[in-house]
Subunit: 159 residues, 3 copies
């Protein structure tokens, strides 16, 4: 089973994300964003997106849009799935590709797994395996924000 | 189940750990520290802590203190748990937050999993899921060292 | 079970891979290399090695050599193992040590796991746990390439 590797991005971006510090900045941004999501701090997580941000996190669920929409989706998703099934989830990202675009946006592509721990079961369930593609932009305050996120579960690749 | 996200740290630290190279330095420090731990090089692992370092690695076990105390704890923990159950453990850290503090220390917070392989069982057991909070300091020799480490297993969050 | 930690490398390398940006550059290189491997883009993956590159990826399989040899090995390995067992694999690397050598090569050592998803089984199998040791060189075009890769599965450590 093959997956598409982005080919629309420039093969040799003008700026080098490793030498500029951008690569580490994206890693740090994602760490803090994931900590907020896993703590179900819905409003703070939503604010790591742009005001018009789009968050397509699961197959079959319409993308959430904007700070209020993303915060609501995070709250409701957690209510729906985990109200009677308490869990501690941890989002793990890895193999992070970062490509600055000519228009100043930053395209990223990375792998994700979620480690889910339940009461009385010390061994977490680690699932699903996903690929995430983000468009990041730098806001007026100098901070990175996610303009759009598309999560594809590996399982969807067989459909 | 929500977990606390550190809020005592400054929201916008003066120095940017991505641009200064500190972020990558911490990643490299943790890689070498974990390699020593997983090779059960107890003395060398202990020396990645400060002389007064504190290592609280498991619930119900008093924190180990100082180079001799940490080395002894690592040796004895491995003897106790794995003498009749040979394993190769690998500590994986991820979603690393790094925050320089006004006093010059560096606070980190990250996720951890341990992949444990046993003879005849190629598939590792991946457990437990933890959050680790460290205070790092820069020693006189210019190297980072861990002043304190507190590991919290996700399972403890349900107690 | 103890594993060897490289001791032939200089303890205090002249150049600091964190501050120079090399550490992030290696992370980015590995992300793109893994994306190509997991997409089974055999020729493009092979070209992340030097022309005389050596790829020893599994116990009992002779190392593949050179661009054509590595591409062929990747294609045939995927045919042999997965032709009647469709999978989406994801290589995860972590705890990356990077050491610049006096001769200009870059020695790396890191942990690896493979998350393998199959149709109808959303939860990936995560196995085996490995240690990978690479020699990287900078090519004339300024890009990093792998001159040699030796993968050791943790299971082999018990043999």
């Amino acid at each position: 089973m093959n997956t598409a590797v982005r080919t629309t991005d420039t093969a040799a971006p003008a700026a080098d994300p490793a030498r500029s510090g951008l690569y580490a900045e994206v890693q740090l941004f994602y760490a803090r964003q994931a900590h907020l999501l896993d703590a179900v701090r819905a409003e703070q997580f939503a604010q790591t997106f742009t005001q018009d941000g789009v968050f397509a996190h699961s197959p079959g669920i319409p993308p959430a849009r904007g700070h209020a929409g993303i915060a609501q989706e995070v709250r409701e998703y957690n209510e729906r799935r985990f109200k009677t099934d308490p869990v501690q989830r941890r989002h793990w990202f890895n193999m992070l590709d970062v490509r600055e675009q000519p228009d100043g946006t930053v395209h990223t592509e990375f792998y994700a797994l979620v480690a889910t721990t339940r009461p009385g079961q010390p061994q977490p369930v680690i699932s699903p395996s996903c690929v995430v593609r983000d468009v990041l932009v730098r806001s007026d305050d100098g901070e990175l924000r996610t303009r759009s996120r598309k999560v594809t579960q590996d399982q969807e690749l067989f459909d």
